[in-house]
Amino acid sequence: MKRYGMSIDLDRCNGCGACMVACAVENNIPATPENSNDRKGITWIRVYKIDNKEQFPDRRSAFVPVLCQQCGHETPCVHVCPQQAVDVDPATGIVGQMPERCLGCRYCMAACPYHARYFNWWDPKWPAGMEKALNPDVAPRMRGVVEKCNFCHGRWHAAKERAAIAGKREIDPADYVPACVEACPTGALRFGDLNDPAVEVARDAKTPESFRLLEKLGTEPKIYYRSEREWVREIANAPRPGKENVRG
Protein backbone atom coordinates (compact mmCIF):
# COMPACT_ATOMS: atom_id res chain seq x y z
CA MET A 1 0.00 0.00 0.00
CA LYS A 2 1.80 3.05 -1.20
CA ARG A 3 1.09 6.69 -0.79
CA TYR A 4 3.02 8.55 -3.47
CA GLY A 5 3.79 12.15 -2.67
CA MET A 6 6.26 14.89 -3.32
CA SER A 7 8.43 17.19 -1.28
CA ILE A 8 9.18 20.56 -2.85
CA ASP A 9 12.01 22.66 -1.42
CA LEU A 10 11.04 26.29 -2.00
CA ASP A 11 14.49 27.43 -0.94
CA ARG A 12 15.94 25.68 -3.97
CA CYS A 13 13.35 26.43 -6.64
CA ASN A 14 14.64 29.18 -8.93
CA GLY A 15 11.48 29.46 -11.00
CA CYS A 16 13.13 28.25 -14.19
CA GLY A 17 10.06 26.34 -15.36
CA ALA A 18 11.88 23.17 -16.42
CA CYS A 19 9.22 21.16 -14.57
CA MET A 20 6.46 22.85 -16.58
CA VAL A 21 8.15 22.08 -19.88
CA ALA A 22 9.00 18.49 -18.99
CA CYS A 23 5.41 17.88 -17.87
CA ALA A 24 4.03 19.31 -21.10
CA VAL A 25 6.37 17.18 -23.21
CA GLU A 26 5.58 14.00 -21.27
CA ASN A 27 1.82 14.50 -21.31
CA ASN A 28 1.35 15.63 -24.90
CA ILE A 29 0.16 19.13 -24.04
CA PRO A 30 -0.51 20.90 -27.32
CA ALA A 31 1.87 23.63 -28.46
CA THR A 32 -0.91 25.81 -29.84
CA PRO A 33 -2.99 27.97 -29.84
CA GLU A 34 -1.10 31.21 -29.81
CA ASN A 35 -3.82 33.07 -27.96
CA SER A 36 -3.96 30.97 -24.82
CA ASN A 37 -3.42 32.85 -21.60
CA ASP A 38 -3.16 32.16 -17.89
CA ARG A 39 -6.84 31.34 -17.63
CA LYS A 40 -7.18 29.09 -20.64
CA GLY A 41 -3.74 27.56 -20.84
CA ILE A 42 -3.04 24.02 -19.73
CA THR A 43 -0.23 23.72 -17.25
CA TRP A 44 -0.56 20.57 -15.16
CA ILE A 45 2.21 22.02 -13.06
CA ARG A 46 2.51 25.77 -12.85
CA VAL A 47 5.22 27.77 -11.11
CA TYR A 48 3.95 30.84 -9.32
CA LYS A 49 6.03 33.72 -8.01
CA ILE A 50 5.31 34.86 -4.49
CA ASP A 51 6.85 37.64 -2.43
CA ASN A 52 6.90 38.98 1.08
CA LYS A 53 4.75 41.98 0.08
CA GLU A 54 7.46 44.45 1.05
CA GLN A 55 8.70 47.33 -1.00
CA PHE A 56 12.15 47.69 -2.45
CA PRO A 57 14.75 47.04 -0.98
CA ASP A 58 13.10 44.66 1.48
CA ARG A 59 11.28 42.75 -1.23
CA ARG A 60 12.05 39.08 -1.29
CA SER A 61 10.59 36.64 -3.79
CA ALA A 62 10.25 32.91 -4.06
CA PHE A 63 8.83 30.46 -6.56
CA VAL A 64 6.19 27.84 -5.87
CA PRO A 65 5.41 25.01 -8.27
CA VAL A 66 1.77 24.03 -7.88
CA LEU A 67 0.39 20.82 -9.29
CA CYS A 68 -2.46 18.53 -8.33
CA GLN A 69 -2.02 18.08 -4.62
CA GLN A 70 -3.31 14.49 -4.75
CA CYS A 71 -5.72 15.05 -1.89
CA GLY A 72 -5.96 11.99 0.27
CA HIS A 73 -9.07 12.70 2.31
CA GLU A 74 -12.49 13.80 1.07
CA THR A 75 -10.91 14.47 -2.29
CA PRO A 76 -13.06 17.36 -3.58
CA CYS A 77 -12.90 16.58 -7.30
CA VAL A 78 -13.81 12.93 -6.74
CA HIS A 79 -16.79 13.94 -4.66
CA VAL A 80 -18.34 16.25 -7.19
CA CYS A 81 -17.75 14.48 -10.47
CA PRO A 82 -21.08 13.34 -11.93
CA GLN A 83 -19.34 10.89 -14.25
CA GLN A 84 -16.90 9.23 -11.89
CA ALA A 85 -14.22 10.38 -14.25
CA VAL A 86 -11.70 10.68 -11.42
CA ASP A 87 -10.87 8.20 -8.73
CA VAL A 88 -8.36 7.64 -5.95
CA ASP A 89 -6.25 4.54 -6.43
CA PRO A 90 -6.14 2.76 -3.07
CA ALA A 91 -2.89 1.03 -3.98
CA THR A 92 -0.89 4.19 -4.74
CA GLY A 93 -2.91 7.10 -3.41
CA ILE A 94 -2.81 8.75 -6.83
CA VAL A 95 -5.89 10.69 -7.83
CA GLY A 96 -6.41 9.60 -11.41
CA GLN A 97 -8.28 11.71 -13.96
CA MET A 98 -9.81 9.94 -16.98
CA PRO A 99 -10.44 12.60 -19.60
CA GLU A 100 -12.19 10.06 -21.81
CA ARG A 101 -14.98 9.75 -19.27
CA CYS A 102 -15.28 13.44 -18.59
CA LEU A 103 -18.22 15.30 -20.03
CA GLY A 104 -16.77 18.72 -19.44
CA CYS A 105 -19.08 20.14 -16.79
CA ARG A 106 -16.06 21.58 -14.96
CA TYR A 107 -17.59 21.06 -11.53
CA CYS A 108 -14.27 19.59 -10.43
CA MET A 109 -12.46 22.74 -11.51
CA ALA A 110 -14.69 24.73 -9.22
CA ALA A 111 -14.28 22.22 -6.42
CA CYS A 112 -10.50 22.03 -6.53
CA PRO A 113 -9.16 24.38 -3.85
CA TYR A 114 -5.77 24.50 -5.56
CA HIS A 115 -6.98 25.41 -9.07
CA ALA A 116 -4.90 22.53 -10.35
CA ARG A 117 -7.34 21.31 -13.00
CA TYR A 118 -7.39 22.48 -16.58
CA PHE A 119 -9.96 22.42 -19.33
CA ASN A 120 -9.34 21.69 -22.99
CA TRP A 121 -10.95 24.67 -24.64
CA TRP A 122 -9.68 23.58 -28.03
CA ASP A 123 -8.82 20.38 -29.86
CA PRO A 124 -5.08 19.79 -29.58
CA LYS A 125 -3.03 20.82 -32.57
CA TRP A 126 0.68 20.79 -33.06
CA PRO A 127 2.81 22.59 -35.66
CA ALA A 128 3.27 20.44 -38.74
CA GLY A 129 5.56 17.55 -38.01
CA MET A 130 5.62 17.96 -34.23
CA GLU A 131 3.06 15.16 -33.82
CA LYS A 132 5.92 12.79 -34.56
CA ALA A 133 7.38 13.76 -31.20
CA LEU A 134 4.30 12.79 -29.16
CA ASN A 135 4.70 10.47 -26.20
CA PRO A 136 2.99 7.13 -26.94
CA ASP A 137 2.45 6.44 -23.25
CA VAL A 138 -0.10 9.21 -22.79
CA ALA A 139 -3.25 9.64 -24.90
CA PRO A 140 -3.91 13.12 -26.29
CA ARG A 141 -7.25 14.57 -25.13
CA MET A 142 -10.00 16.01 -27.26
CA ARG A 143 -11.63 19.33 -26.56
CA GLY A 144 -14.24 19.65 -23.87
CA VAL A 145 -12.62 17.53 -21.18
CA VAL A 146 -10.79 18.35 -17.98
CA GLU A 147 -7.32 17.07 -17.28
CA LYS A 148 -4.74 17.28 -14.54
CA CYS A 149 -1.57 15.82 -13.19
CA ASN A 150 -1.66 12.06 -12.62
CA PHE A 151 1.91 11.75 -11.32
CA CYS A 152 2.98 10.62 -14.79
CA HIS A 153 0.95 7.45 -14.95
CA GLY A 154 2.57 6.63 -18.30
CA ARG A 155 5.82 6.16 -16.41
CA TRP A 156 3.98 4.17 -13.76
CA HIS A 157 2.75 1.83 -16.49
CA ALA A 158 6.24 1.45 -17.91
CA ALA A 159 7.64 0.71 -14.44
CA LYS A 160 4.96 -1.92 -13.86
CA GLU A 161 5.72 -3.60 -17.19
CA ARG A 162 9.39 -3.65 -16.42
CA ALA A 163 8.63 -5.31 -13.09
CA ALA A 164 6.11 -7.74 -14.63
CA ILE A 165 8.55 -9.01 -17.24
CA ALA A 166 10.88 -9.89 -14.38
CA GLY A 167 8.04 -11.61 -12.59
CA LYS A 168 7.83 -9.01 -9.85
CA ARG A 169 4.69 -7.38 -8.51
CA GLU A 170 6.51 -4.46 -6.91
CA ILE A 171 8.12 -1.83 -9.09
CA ASP A 172 11.68 -0.63 -8.70
CA PRO A 173 11.38 2.93 -7.27
CA ALA A 174 14.16 4.15 -9.55
CA ASP A 175 11.98 3.27 -12.55
CA TYR A 176 9.13 5.53 -11.54
CA VAL A 177 10.08 9.19 -11.46
CA PRO A 178 7.61 11.77 -12.76
CA ALA A 179 8.84 14.05 -15.55
CA CYS A 180 8.88 17.19 -13.41
CA VAL A 181 11.01 15.58 -10.72
CA GLU A 182 13.42 14.19 -13.29
CA ALA A 183 13.73 17.55 -15.01
CA CYS A 184 14.25 19.83 -12.02
CA PRO A 185 17.84 21.07 -12.32
CA THR A 186 18.06 22.44 -8.79
CA GLY A 187 16.83 19.32 -7.02
CA ALA A 188 13.87 21.14 -5.51
CA LEU A 189 11.36 18.45 -6.43
CA ARG A 190 11.46 15.06 -4.80
CA PHE A 191 9.08 12.17 -5.24
CA GLY A 192 8.51 8.96 -3.39
CA ASP A 193 6.33 6.80 -1.22
CA LEU A 194 5.31 8.72 1.87
CA ASN A 195 4.57 5.46 3.64
CA ASP A 196 8.13 4.25 3.32
CA PRO A 197 10.19 5.72 6.18
CA ALA A 198 13.41 4.99 4.35
CA VAL A 199 12.49 7.35 1.52
CA GLU A 200 13.73 10.96 1.53
CA VAL A 201 10.33 12.36 0.77
CA ALA A 202 8.76 10.72 3.79
CA ARG A 203 11.42 12.20 6.05
CA ASP A 204 11.16 15.64 4.42
CA ALA A 205 7.43 15.63 5.08
CA LYS A 206 7.96 15.40 8.81
CA THR A 207 10.42 18.26 9.31
CA PRO A 208 9.17 21.41 11.09
CA GLU A 209 9.76 23.58 7.99
CA SER A 210 7.37 21.45 5.96
CA PHE A 211 3.87 22.57 5.27
CA ARG A 212 1.04 21.77 2.93
CA LEU A 213 -1.14 24.21 1.08
CA LEU A 214 -4.49 24.89 2.70
CA GLU A 215 -4.06 22.19 5.28
CA LYS A 216 -6.92 23.73 7.24
CA LEU A 217 -9.37 22.45 4.62
CA GLY A 218 -8.60 18.89 5.64
CA THR A 219 -8.01 17.55 2.15
CA GLU A 220 -4.76 15.89 3.28
CA PRO A 221 -2.73 16.78 0.21
CA LYS A 222 0.32 14.69 -0.50
CA ILE A 223 2.55 17.51 -1.75
CA TYR A 224 4.73 18.82 1.05
CA TYR A 225 6.47 22.13 0.64
CA ARG A 226 9.36 23.23 2.77
CA SER A 227 11.13 26.49 3.40
CA GLU A 228 13.23 27.91 6.16
CA ARG A 229 11.69 31.31 5.51
CA GLU A 230 8.70 32.10 7.69
CA TRP A 231 7.01 34.34 5.13
CA VAL A 232 7.13 31.57 2.54
CA ARG A 233 5.44 29.16 4.91
CA GLU A 234 2.57 31.60 5.31
CA ILE A 235 1.29 30.76 1.84
CA ALA A 236 -0.18 27.63 3.38
CA ASN A 237 -3.08 29.78 4.45
CA ALA A 238 -3.29 32.03 1.42
CA PRO A 239 -6.25 31.64 -0.94
CA ARG A 240 -3.93 31.30 -3.91
CA PRO A 241 -0.17 31.65 -4.09
CA GLY A 242 1.07 34.61 -6.01
CA LYS A 243 -0.74 37.08 -8.17
CA GLU A 244 -0.46 35.32 -11.54
CA ASN A 245 3.08 36.66 -11.90
CA VAL A 246 1.81 39.75 -13.72
CA ARG A 247 4.61 41.81 -12.33
CA GLY A 248 7.00 40.02 -14.60
Binding site: D89, P99, E100, H157, K160, A164, I165
Partner: protein, 164 residues
Protein backbone atom coordinates in the same frame (compact mmCIF):
# COMPACT_ATOMS: atom_id res chain seq x y z
CA UNK B 1 -31.05 -13.01 -43.13
CA UNK B 2 -30.24 -11.43 -39.83
CA UNK B 3 -27.55 -13.99 -39.05
CA UNK B 4 -25.68 -13.46 -42.30
CA UNK B 5 -26.67 -9.99 -43.38
CA UNK B 6 -26.71 -8.05 -40.13
CA UNK B 7 -23.00 -8.37 -39.37
CA UNK B 8 -22.23 -6.71 -42.69
CA UNK B 9 -24.30 -3.77 -41.59
CA UNK B 10 -22.57 -3.42 -38.26
CA UNK B 11 -19.06 -4.48 -39.16
CA UNK B 12 -16.65 -3.27 -41.78
CA UNK B 13 -14.46 -6.02 -43.10
CA UNK B 14 -10.74 -5.48 -43.69
CA UNK B 15 -8.63 -8.31 -45.04
CA UNK B 16 -5.08 -8.99 -43.94
CA UNK B 17 -2.37 -8.04 -46.46
CA UNK B 18 -0.80 -11.48 -46.52
CA UNK B 19 -2.51 -14.87 -46.49
CA UNK B 20 -0.60 -16.23 -43.53
CA UNK B 21 -1.23 -19.66 -42.07
CA UNK B 22 -0.42 -20.12 -38.40
CA UNK B 23 -1.05 -23.86 -38.75
CA UNK B 24 1.68 -24.39 -41.33
CA UNK B 25 4.20 -22.49 -39.25
CA UNK B 26 3.24 -24.34 -36.09
CA UNK B 27 3.36 -27.76 -37.76
CA UNK B 28 6.24 -27.46 -40.19
CA UNK B 29 8.46 -24.89 -38.53
CA UNK B 30 7.59 -25.91 -35.00
CA UNK B 31 7.14 -22.32 -33.96
CA UNK B 32 5.37 -21.40 -30.77
CA UNK B 33 3.56 -18.16 -30.12
CA UNK B 34 6.48 -16.45 -28.41
CA UNK B 35 8.92 -17.19 -31.24
CA UNK B 36 7.35 -14.45 -33.31
CA UNK B 37 5.16 -12.56 -30.84
CA UNK B 38 7.67 -11.68 -28.18
CA UNK B 39 8.29 -9.43 -25.23
CA UNK B 40 11.03 -6.83 -25.37
CA UNK B 41 13.49 -6.35 -22.52
CA UNK B 42 11.59 -3.45 -21.02
CA UNK B 43 8.42 -5.50 -20.77
CA UNK B 44 6.57 -4.02 -23.72
CA UNK B 45 4.99 -6.36 -26.20
CA UNK B 46 6.18 -6.39 -29.78
CA UNK B 47 2.81 -7.51 -31.18
CA UNK B 48 2.83 -8.65 -34.77
CA UNK B 49 6.39 -9.41 -35.92
CA UNK B 50 8.20 -7.03 -38.24
CA UNK B 51 9.50 -8.02 -41.66
CA UNK B 52 12.96 -8.95 -40.42
CA UNK B 53 11.47 -11.80 -38.41
CA UNK B 54 9.82 -13.26 -41.52
CA UNK B 55 12.83 -12.54 -43.76
CA UNK B 56 15.12 -14.47 -41.47
CA UNK B 57 13.56 -17.65 -42.82
CA UNK B 58 11.76 -16.56 -45.97
CA UNK B 59 14.60 -14.82 -47.74
CA UNK B 60 14.10 -17.50 -50.35
CA UNK B 61 10.95 -19.53 -50.95
CA UNK B 62 10.69 -22.38 -48.52
CA UNK B 63 7.64 -24.06 -50.00
CA UNK B 64 5.73 -23.83 -53.21
CA UNK B 65 2.56 -22.01 -52.25
CA UNK B 66 1.39 -19.03 -54.22
CA UNK B 67 0.81 -17.10 -51.03
CA UNK B 68 4.46 -17.40 -50.03
CA UNK B 69 5.69 -16.38 -53.46
CA UNK B 70 3.38 -13.40 -53.35
CA UNK B 71 4.73 -12.46 -49.94
CA UNK B 72 8.35 -12.67 -51.02
CA UNK B 73 7.76 -10.71 -54.22
CA UNK B 74 5.72 -7.95 -52.68
CA UNK B 75 7.26 -7.61 -49.22
CA UNK B 76 10.54 -9.42 -48.60
CA UNK B 77 12.33 -8.43 -51.78
CA UNK B 78 11.46 -4.74 -51.75
CA UNK B 79 11.83 -4.64 -47.95
CA UNK B 80 8.32 -3.34 -47.42
CA UNK B 81 6.62 -3.86 -44.05
CA UNK B 82 3.26 -5.60 -44.36
CA UNK B 83 0.55 -3.41 -42.88
CA UNK B 84 -1.04 -6.03 -40.65
CA UNK B 85 -4.48 -5.14 -39.34
CA UNK B 86 -4.71 -5.68 -35.63
CA UNK B 87 -7.55 -7.76 -34.27
CA UNK B 88 -7.08 -6.43 -30.81
CA UNK B 89 -6.51 -2.75 -31.44
CA UNK B 90 -7.75 -0.71 -28.50
CA UNK B 91 -8.57 3.01 -28.56
CA UNK B 92 -5.70 5.34 -27.82
CA UNK B 93 -6.68 5.83 -24.19
CA UNK B 94 -6.37 2.15 -23.26
CA UNK B 95 -3.21 0.69 -21.76
CA UNK B 96 -3.08 -3.07 -21.94
CA UNK B 97 -0.03 -4.76 -20.54
CA UNK B 98 0.72 -8.19 -21.95
CA UNK B 99 3.53 -8.58 -19.44
CA UNK B 100 1.17 -8.25 -16.49
CA UNK B 101 -1.45 -10.61 -17.89
CA UNK B 102 0.95 -13.26 -19.19
CA UNK B 103 3.82 -13.17 -16.70
CA UNK B 104 1.98 -12.21 -13.53
CA UNK B 105 -1.52 -13.35 -14.40
CA UNK B 106 -0.39 -16.61 -15.92
CA UNK B 107 -2.82 -16.36 -18.82
CA UNK B 108 -2.26 -18.46 -21.91
CA UNK B 109 -2.40 -16.87 -25.36
CA UNK B 110 -5.41 -18.99 -26.34
CA UNK B 111 -7.51 -17.77 -23.43
CA UNK B 112 -7.91 -14.34 -24.97
CA UNK B 113 -6.93 -14.79 -28.59
CA UNK B 114 -8.65 -18.07 -29.22
CA UNK B 115 -7.24 -20.90 -31.27
CA UNK B 116 -5.37 -18.60 -33.63
CA UNK B 117 -2.28 -20.75 -33.43
CA UNK B 118 -3.95 -23.62 -35.20
CA UNK B 119 -5.86 -21.58 -37.78
CA UNK B 120 -5.03 -22.11 -41.43
CA UNK B 121 -5.87 -18.63 -42.60
CA UNK B 122 -6.23 -15.20 -41.10
CA UNK B 123 -9.81 -14.07 -40.88
CA UNK B 124 -10.53 -10.63 -42.23
CA UNK B 125 -10.76 -8.15 -39.39
CA UNK B 126 -14.37 -7.17 -38.85
CA UNK B 127 -14.43 -3.76 -37.22
CA UNK B 128 -17.51 -2.19 -35.74
CA UNK B 129 -18.41 0.73 -37.93
CA UNK B 130 -19.21 3.03 -35.04
CA UNK B 131 -16.92 2.09 -32.20
CA UNK B 132 -13.96 0.64 -34.07
CA UNK B 133 -13.62 -2.56 -32.02
CA UNK B 134 -13.07 -5.83 -33.87
CA UNK B 135 -15.20 -8.94 -33.40
CA UNK B 136 -12.27 -11.17 -32.81
CA UNK B 137 -10.84 -9.76 -29.67
CA UNK B 138 -11.94 -11.38 -26.48
CA UNK B 139 -13.28 -8.18 -25.00
CA UNK B 140 -15.95 -7.84 -27.59
CA UNK B 141 -16.54 -4.10 -27.41
CA UNK B 142 -16.29 -2.14 -24.22
CA UNK B 143 -14.29 -2.87 -21.15
CA UNK B 144 -17.17 -4.74 -19.51
CA UNK B 145 -15.62 -8.06 -20.47
CA UNK B 146 -12.28 -7.01 -19.00
CA UNK B 147 -14.00 -5.90 -15.82
CA UNK B 148 -15.94 -9.17 -15.56
CA UNK B 149 -12.78 -11.27 -15.62
CA UNK B 150 -10.98 -8.89 -13.28
CA UNK B 151 -13.80 -9.10 -10.76
CA UNK B 152 -13.82 -12.87 -11.01
CA UNK B 153 -10.14 -13.01 -10.16
CA UNK B 154 -10.35 -10.31 -7.50
CA UNK B 155 -8.08 -7.95 -9.41
CA UNK B 156 -10.06 -4.81 -8.77
CA UNK B 157 -7.91 -2.03 -10.03
CA UNK B 158 -8.01 1.72 -10.28
CA UNK B 159 -8.99 3.36 -13.56
CA UNK B 160 -5.53 4.60 -14.42
CA UNK B 161 -4.05 1.14 -14.20
CA UNK B 162 -5.57 0.37 -17.59
CA UNK B 163 -6.18 3.82 -19.03
CA UNK B 164 -3.83 6.46 -20.19
Amino acid sequence: MGWIGFPHVIYKSRPQPVDFSHKIHADKAGTKCEDCHSFRDDGTYAGAPTLDKCSSCHAAAMGDSAAEKNFIDRYVTPGKEPQWVSYARQPENVFFSHATHVKLGGLKCEQCHGAVGSSATLRPVEEDRVGGYSRDVWARGTMDDCVACHRQRHQENSCLDCHK
